[in-house]
């Protein structure tokens, strides 16, 4: 359980840090907002499109890790809990 919480918190921190850093960068370096890529402002690219793949990647990573943690935990407890059962 503790490992699960740790995993959740790491992923959460990462996602929030990525999200929260953009306005902070933009506030400190206003020039960032004036960058354009092929005539499209960077702000539009980041806010409109770039965040979603990041979210998906974090979520996918979390799901995989959580499944592994549970599998490991189950195999650890399994022999012990089977005895009273049988």
């Amino acid at each position: 359980v503790r490992a699960q919480l740790g995993l959740s918190l790491v992923c959460l921190t990462f996602a929030l840090a990525v999200t929260a850093s953009f306005p902070l960068i933009a506030a400190m370096v206003p020039a960032v907002t004036r960058i354009t890529v092929d005539g499209i402002p960077l702000t539009l690219i980041v806010l409109g499109f770039a965040f979603y793949p990041v979210f998906l990647a974090v979520g996918w990573f979390y799901n995989r890790q959580a499944r592994q943690l549970e599998a490991r935990f189950t195999s650890l407890v399994e022999p012990a809990s089977r005895r009273p059962d049988v």
Binding site: L44, F51, Y52, F55, A66, P84
Partner: protein, 590 residues
């Protein structure tokens, strides 16, 4: 406006009513649909969750807000999606294993307190109503635009249809319908966006260049449907027909100065390519100067944009956990592992949906900037197709958009109304199905009346407020309840009351126009930035102070939430008495 749009809306509405009528036979009792739906595969369930989640704010509000106030409004769509990531990381699997249907159920099951149930129920009502208002408003705008009926007709129509539908049988239980609604909505916004994108072609436009006021890309005649005040950033030659600045013109060339102008209803102003786009005075002043600023300015009068942006990020990221009508869907997953997969698919589905409002908003900015002059930014998505693509194709696209929008109102408000009515009848009044019906009707009526009073707030803003309340009341309850053994019921109650209460108070103050600028406006208009930490803080501090009241069965409850399914079955068999009690508590109810 067009027959196709009327037909499309009527079709969606009829479909919903018919399914609701069938629901009477299918779902006689609340237990039926809850239990029967327990084996829903993740992909289907994820579509259903998305279908219920994507509301008027997503469909109309975000694009409108982006056009009106700039790219900063995209934080709403990022946040609405990010909320599910947080939900996945923090609550999805444990919540499914816990097996509570509603937030009040969770509160009682985890902390065993009657008083907490009442508090939580009251907040479910508040959040539900706050979320219902924008749906009603969206319906009002859509019908106003399609049929030319007054605003209240649309609001009343949606209120009556949804209330009666739910009172008759409820459509909530039919996962398949919600799933269908998602794909309908995706098509209804995706197809127009793609078609318009192809039709207009990719051409470089000065309107996307940062720090520039928008200009007309081609000669455009702006027709004003109502008296409008607007400003110009530069002086411009224009051909005016009708009343302007208290003078009547008849197809005359006029030199408009770079200042304020007032045009009468029915005035038509022709601009040449390269002329600055007039900006309506009704809109936020910030829309002109910094359209591509990454900050958000709505609801705060443009002050302290960084703080306002973080307010929205916090509210939307943490608000999704506390939305009453979403939580109930998680119980239809077979197990915790499936709940995780479902949530990930929801993130995927929402991501793909939110690409399209962005596209539509950018298209508006590029090719139809005269929509800046329409007084209500929320109707932009509806008006765009027929402006860019004249003739039958445009009308068909507009019909599709209108139908999708109506699907959005119907599905979201049905889900909400079931939650609200369920909370009223079950948690407050402790009655059965008949009371539930009356609660549905009266809750719908209250929301309808309230919606008539709020038409000056933008859709995305209203929904953002509902998220803020959820984030500063239920989110700490869920997160701490799942992960922290030492949470006590007094701490939880104190946190909910203080966090949710202060957030609600701030929003009401904003609605009444208490503060119009500076820090006051930011802290009241985007309250989540301080109410969420406040709620967490109060909950932790008060819990630590009242450690003697930690529920005795906390270990048991924690075990059930976090054990993988493969193990929990054995645990149930061995821990006889307590888990049987726990299962009683899980009996489905509404």
């Amino acid at each position: 406006m067009s027959d196709a749009a009327i037909g499309a809306i009527a079709f969606v509405t009829l479909l919903t009513i018919m399914v609701g009528a069938r629901g009477v036979r299918v779902a006689r009792t609340p237990d039926d649909f809850m239990v029967a739906a327990r084996q829903v595969p993740p992909a289907l369930n994820a579509s259903a969750i998305s279908g219920e989640y994507l509301s008027a704010a997503s469909f109309l509000g975000i694009a409108g807000l982006v056009v009106a106030q700039g790219l900063g409004a995209l934080w709403y769509s990022v946040g609405y999606t990010g909320g599910y990531l947080v939900l996945l990381l923090l609550v999805a699997a444990p919540l499914r294993r816990f097996g509570a249907y509603t937030i009040p159920d969770f509160a009682v099951g985890r902390l065993g307190s009657r008083g907490l149930r009442q508090t939580a129920t009251a907040l479910v009502l508040v959040i539900g109503w706050f979320y219902l208002l924008p749906q009603m408003k969206g319906a009002g705008i859509t019908l106003q635009w399609v049929l030319g009926t007054p605003y209240w007709v649309g609001v009343a129509t949606l209120g009556v249809v949804v209330s009666c539908n739910i009172a008759m049988g409820g459509m909530k239980g039919i996962t398949f319908v919600q799933c269908f609604q998602y794909w309908l909505k995706l098509c209804a916004i995706g197809i127009p966006a793609l078609v318009l994108l192809i039709a207009t072609g990719h051409s470089f436009s000065p309107n996307l260049t940062p720090d520039r006021a928008p200009v007309f890309t081609q000669a455009t005649v702006v027709s004003l449907t109502q008296a409008t005040g607007f400003t110009l950033t530069r002086s411009a030659e224009a051909t005016v027909t009708g009343l302007l600045d208290q003078r009547t013109f008849q197809d005359q060339a006029v030199r408009l100065c770079a200042c304020r102008h007032v045009a009468g209803a029915g005035t038509r102003i022709g601009f040449a390519a390269g002329d600055p786009v007039p900006v309506s005075l009704a809109m936020e002043p910030s829309s002109l100067e910094s359209w591509d600023s990454p900050f958000l300015t709505s609801g705060t009068g443009g002050a302290h944009p960084l703080a306002a942006t973080y307010g929205v990020i916090i509210a939307t990221f943490f608000g999704a956990i506390g939305l009453p009508h979403i939580l109930v869907r998680f119980y239809t997953n077979p197990d915790g592992e499936a709940a995780r997969r479902t949530t990930l698919i929801v993130v995927l589905l929402l991501s793909s949906f939110y690409l399209f409002p962005t596209v539509l908003a950018v298209l508006t900015r590029l090719h139809a900037p005269q929509l800046y002059l329409s007084s209500d930014s929320d109707s932009i998505v509806l008006a765009l197709p027929s402006l860019l693509l004249p003739g039958l194709p445009g009308e068909l696209l507009a019909a599709l958009v209108a139908a999708g929008a109506f699907a959005a109102f119907l599905s979201t408000s049905s889900g909400l109304l079931v939650s609200v009515a369920g909370a009223l009848s079950h948690d407050l009044l402790h009655r059965g199905v008949n009371t539930f019906r009356w609660c549905a009707i009266s809750a719908g009526a209250i929301a309808t009346i309230a919606a008539l009073l709020i038409d000056r707030f933008s859709l995305a803003l209203l929904v953002g407020w509902a998220f803020a309340i959820a984030a500063s009341s239920f989110c700490p309850l869920m997160v701490l309840g799942i992960w922290w053994r030492r949470l006590t019921r007094i701490g939880a109650t104190a946190g909910i009351v203080l966090g949710g209460g202060s957030c609600l108070a701030a929003i009401v103050a904003t609605m009444l126009g208490a503060a119009t600028g500076g820090w006051g406006a930011v802290l009241l208009g985007q309250p989540a930035i301080w109410t969420v930490p406040l709620a967490f803080g109060v909950m932790i501090v008060v819990s630590l102070l009242t450690q003697r009241t930690v529920p005795a069965n906390v270990g048991q409850v924690m075990l059930r939430m976090h054990l993988p399914e493969a193990l929990s079955r054995q645990t149930y068999r061995t821990a006889s008495q307590a888990s049987r009690l726990a299962q009683d508590r899980r009996t489905p109810d509404l």
